[in-house]
Symmetry: C3
Subunit: 266 residues, 3 copies
């Protein structure tokens, strides 16, 4: 798989997929720039009147419920339905699931529409699998990613999604596969929107029409390795943010391959 995942990085750069994002206000700029730096082309549009048109011209749909409200929640559900209708992959980032009962209700409704890929931190994945409120401390995880493996496997089994659990170790799960990635850097948790950027990249990579598990590993490896390289050059979270975009744009196969710490669990 090591060889193939770099090919996916190149394929995104060459095909410049259009990715339709309904995401949160805090990270829109960050995730649009991450998509551009990785070679994709972002669209951000939430008006219900145009969602079907937008899904139709895009290659994938990213739904991130960070700053949801009643109007945006409806837009997210509509986009998920349109993704199925037009046969486009849709990625779900259940930001802050567990922090409020309203958020849990919306997460549950989006989940029922069977996302192609789900990405969250351990607390979010555990809250999503149980949908019991009160288990999340806001939007930052209070758990290690390996604590969420059983919850992730539940989501895989019940909804047929590939599940990515972000953390010091990133864990990618599908029905019969499990990969662990040990890239990244702790400083990445001090910049808002890098998890959301990972989700956006999952959208870009899902549009390649290849094995969704493998492209999900590739997207996760790309941002983790770029973040790791960027963090080593940075004197704090401000410079990390810009170095990450520069590195996403300039990363070479040699550097990627040298850094990649991928373990096939099964």
């Amino acid at each position: 798989m090591r060889k193939k995942i770099w090919e996916y990085v190149i394929a995104v750069r060459e095909s410049a997929p259009l990715v339709h994002n309904i995401t949160n206000y805090v990270v829109m700029n960050t995730t649009a720039n991450a998509l551009l730096a990785a070679g994709a082309s972002p669209i951000m549009a939430h008006a219900q009147e145009e969602i079907e048109d937008m899904v139709n011209i895009c290659q994938s749909v990213v739904i991130n419920m960070g700053t949801l409200d009643p109007y945006w929640s409806q837009s997210m559900l509509l986009a998920a339905e349109c993704a199925h209708k037009h046969n486009k992959p849709f990625i779900f980032d259940p930001v802050g699931t567990g922090a409020s009962s309203y958020r849990n209700k919306i997460a549950s409704a989006i989940l029922a529409l069977r996302p192609t890929v789900i990405r969250g931190n351990a607390s979010e994945i555990m809250a999503l699998a149980s949908l019991n409120p009160g288990k999340t401390k806001g939007v930052d995880s209070t758990h290690q990613s390996n604590e969420a493996i059983i919850a992730g496997q539940t989501l895989v089994r019940d909804y047929g999604a590939v599940v990515c659990i972000s953390g010091a170790t990133d864990i990618i799960l599908s029905g019969n596969r499990e990969v662990h990635l040990n890239n990244g850097h702790p400083l990445m948790t001090k910049v808002t929107g890098l998890g959301c950027s990972a989700t956006a990249l999952l959208g870009a990579f899902s549009s390649l029409g290849k094995d969704i598990f493998e492209t999900s590993v590739a997207a996760t490896a790309l941002i983790s390795i770029a973040g790791e390289i960027a963090a080593e050059k940075s004197s704090g979270p401000g410079s990390l943010q810009l170095n990450l975009l520069d590195t996403l744009y300039t990363l070479t196969e040699q550097e990627f391959d040298k850094r990649l710490k991928l373990t096939n669990i099964k």
Copy 2:
């Protein structure tokens, strides 16, 4: 004109015009910082209850329909009407025109209110002139700017606007004038919101009360030259973003003049 356009850059720095922006969520931070770096003062306000007050205290109005929805569309139309009522220039950025029929409908309604200046990429200007859906690939142009000259001339003739077509060559059109600018850098297309920042600067420069065609050339030249200088110092789109703001703030007449590639077509 070369001499005068630098004088406009200085005039914005010295007069610090207040620019009222109704723009999209993705670029609000970027365009506010671009306005500040160029010496202007941004206001972002979309509540219909306060639009007339805001237009009244500002020197110009910028309407960018990137992340439009029904409420924001009404705010945009109201701001355009208030701009006429209070005799302030209003700039229109028809982001993504052609990508959905809803977007076309709103673009058409804003256009009917006769913007002072219209800025878009070639695909947007062509879609706006024809208002036939389906000609745009999302928000990035699939055409070169010179392919859109006839479309731009149609907008000039039918709506009396100055039209700026962004691209590798920036083209500025009015009833009897046409200027081509060959500044800028390809890396600028890998940062979200630089076109929107150009539109915001068009707002700042339009507030000077000078010839709108000439101030539009000046605003376009400023961001293109600043982007070109910034890109040459940058190792990717992340550093470009910050170097652009630094350069907008520090650019000197000497540097500007040395770089400026302006062709008077007529």
Copy 3:
């Protein structure tokens, strides 16, 4: 107090307080990153269905009315009410008060709910104290901070708040105390959202459960000193933005203490 305020900086880093922000679109990313860099953990959520849940899990609430509209205004008022109900400090940033009568009406309603801390520039504090429209030039101050002391004292007396007036000199007022801080740098006014970031930090520091006047001095000193150090390293507003985040993250007691220009007026 000098010794104690550094202890508050450390206490925020160590306790990583959750801060619930209802703030404006322009600065959400900037203020979330400022909170993270200072060691706090931001939540941004505005849906009325989840505000009480969010206030309940957070340690403090920040209300910034920059891009208010009818829905968001209701969310702000609800969050302020929940802050009282759940006994959490709430910080109010009256962005642009005086610029429209609608904005004045909402500012007045939020003020009536008795914020724990109010932070604004001199024009905003003066407009808030008088609630006469038309005294503000947009969102940038047209007054020096010391011109607003009487207005600030009026707010202290009538609403029981600690009042922070930002400017070249930052002034912090409570019933019987007044501190002036002479840190910061003029370049900070060329980056959008640094005042809003100061407000967000006031939220983080208010959550420590210590003397609110002293923690407000600490939050204000932290961002002013970090901004001053960052500006000296920067070649313009773009690099200032990232250097500020880096400095918030890495600032040491020695550097803080060497820079701190604090005057106890009373």
